[in-house]
């Protein structure tokens, strides 16, 4: 693909003595939501963390907007305009909602219009603005983690299993929120929940045992029951 904002080329990553990624190659097109599906332990989280530089790829190349970021420091990668929402949400429980968001705003100052937009997407953030984050519910913490990622314009947002442990009603709200966010930026979404992924994804890649085993349009996968059955039985837990 020529309009890829992010390109992974034969990426290998080890965690301690374990070889987790066995040559991941993946293009993430600019704009919209792109999904990385896979079962537990397939290498989804490792892929996102390798992109962020939190675990260094031992071989291969990770290229963002034409720039090789494979060996860059995590903070420098973030400053290129990549936001990361980890699986555990990465919320600072001892800080208030405001302080959590202020850390993600350049020089600690909020753009009023941007903040209003975040409040429009997640009204709970305005309501609990002065509350310590550890006192929020699981769904509210997830909203805070995503709000923090979008409080400034980012070119790419990496989100790791945002629906994990959330109630179905909150997941429906999340779908609407992600659609809106995906209109202005690119999202690489790691998911196990196929219904959630299907509702949002423009493209999909399926990872298994540290390798990409399928890539294509989400609409094609959603429409092809046989392919779905093969990949789902291969890679996904039932949802």
């Amino acid at each position: 693909m020529t309009n890829a904002i992010l390109r992974l080329d034969d990426v290998h990553t080890d965690i301690a003595q374990y070889h987790i990624l066995h040559g991941i190659s993946l293009d993430v097109p600019e704009g919209g939501v792109h999904v990385l599906l896979g079962r537990n332990g397939a290498g989804k989280t490792t892929t996102l963390r390798s992109i962020m530089g939190l675990w260094k790829a031992k071989a291969g190349a990770i290229v963002f907007r034409g720039r090789d970021i494979t060996a860059m420091h995590t903070s420098d990668i973030a400053r290129l305009g990549i936001a990361f929402v980890p699986e555990n949400m990465g919320i600072f429980g001892g800080l208030t909602v405001e302080e959590n968001m202020r850390l993600a705003a350049t020089h600690g100052r909020f753009d009023k219009a941007r903040l209003d937009r975040v409040f429009a997407i997640f009204p709970a953030m305005e309501k609990f603005w002065d509350r310590q984050a550890h006192a929020l519910s699981g769904g509210q913490k997830q909203m805070l983690a995503i709000s923090r990622a979008i409080i400034e314009r980012r070119d790419l947002i990496l989100i790791d299993e945002p629906t994990k442990g959330l109630a179905p009603a909150i997941i429906r709200n999340m779908i609407d929120a992600f659609r809106e966010i995906g209109e202005e930026t690119t999202i690489l979404l790691v998911e196990q929940n196929f219904l959630f992924a299907k509702a949002l994804g423009r493209t999909v890649a399926v990872i298994d045992d540290g390798r990409i085993v399928h890539r294509g349009g989400m609409a094609e996968l959603a429409a092809d029951a046989e392919l779905q059955a093969r990949l789902l039985s291969l890679s996904l837990e039932a949802h």
Partner: protein, 331 residues
């Protein structure tokens, strides 16, 4: 029981403990003058230990570094402060309050500046290679402490060194029939000022916000675009500088110091950090005041238990709150 707990929390929670301890001691001691003398001594002692412990708590909490070499900064701070005061003998002994204060500022300033510089060197050379490896941290920092104590012996010798106290801080004043040592009031006020500065820095500035966030989740701070390693150096320098300042204050308090001063204090400093909870300045203050007051009250009421009092206090606190009285919130 629940309503009692809610009332306790509403009126300040664990921050009330030093007040409760002082009230219980008042009842047990019986004589208001003795109680006041012991309370002031305990608060002054607590504040000096707070200076030494606050930096260690932040270093523990933010950097996850077990620095057993922290006491070397305390010892060096004590000896540098004492040396500067000795060198400025005329200013120290003179009647001029201005010269007295200048000598004091020079002594504490020199100790603190040395602590910051030595902290930078220590972090870059000793600590940096052993991040994320507690066993090596313990081994290398204990080794560094031994080397530092030998350097102290080489420079200042093994005989106890007298510490001149500026004339303005000698003597005492009377509150009713209670004589209050001026130095203790000064130690308390200096500790309080440092606490206020640390509290404002941590709660009102962006760097403070980053430190509080880093104590909770270093990785996420980096994923937000900040270099946590640069923050580490700053925190380590500040922690070492505070330890040296505490050492200089302790030297003036004791009047006679030996190279083993830091090691002797270190057990108490670690107890304060553990009681207070890792990574929390409020916790360090609370722990230090509890240790200072308990030591003085127990030494008066039950002299035979004096040495064990802080250990007993730590056991009680940990049985009640295994993470300390006021640890930094994680996650």
């Amino acid at each position: 029981m629940k309503s009692l707990s809610a009332t306790f929390t509403r009126f300040g929670g664990v921050m009330l403990l030093p007040v409760i301890l002082a009230l219980v001691a008042f009842v047990l001691i019986g004589r208001p003058s003795s109680w006041l003398t012991l309370t002031i001594a305990g608060l002054a002692m607590g504040m000096m230990i707070f200076l030494m412990a606050s930096g260690l708590s932040l270093i523990f909490g933010l950097m996850d570094v077990l620095n057993f070499g922290h006491s070397a900064f305390v010892s060096f701070g004590a000896f540098i402060g004492a040396t500067v005061l000795a060198a400025l003998g005329i200013w120290v002994r003179g009647d001029s309050a201005f010269l007295n204060i200048a000598a004091l500022v020079a002594a504490i300033g020199a100790a603190t500046a040395f602590g910051a510089l030595a902290g930078w060197f220590f972090e870059r050379v000793i600590i940096k290679p052993v991040y994320a490896d507690h066993l090596r941290q313990i081994l290398i920092t204990v080794g560094a402490l031994i080397v530092a104590e030998e350097i102290l012996l080489v420079i200042w010798g093994g005989t106890p060194m007298p510490v001149p106290r500026p004339a303005i801080l000698t003597g005492s004043f009377l509150i009713g029939d209670v004589a209050v040592e001026i130095y203790r009031i000064f130690a308390f006020l200096l500790g309080l000022a440092v606490y206020v500065i640390l509290h404002l820095t941590l709660n009102r500035t962006r760097i403070g916000l980053l430190i509080r966030a880093g104590v909770e989740n270093r990785e996420m701070v980096e994923a937000l675009g900040f270099r946590i390693d640069r923050l580490f150096i700053g925190v380590f320098m500040a922690g070492s500088a505070l330890a040296a300042m505490g050492g200089a204050m302790w030297a003036g308090y004791q009047g006679l110091i030996t190279p083993a001063l830091g090691s002797e204090l270190m057990v108490m400093v670690f107890i304060v950090v553990i009681i207070g909870g890792l990574g929390s300045i409020q916790g360090s203050l609370l722990g230090a005041l509890m240790v200072g007051l308990t030591t003085n009250y127990v030494a008066f009421l039950f002299p035979k238990l004096a040495l064990a009092s802080t250990m007993i206090l730590m056991m009680i606190v940990l049985l009640w709150r295994p993470w300390g009285l006021k640890p930094a919130v994680k996650g």
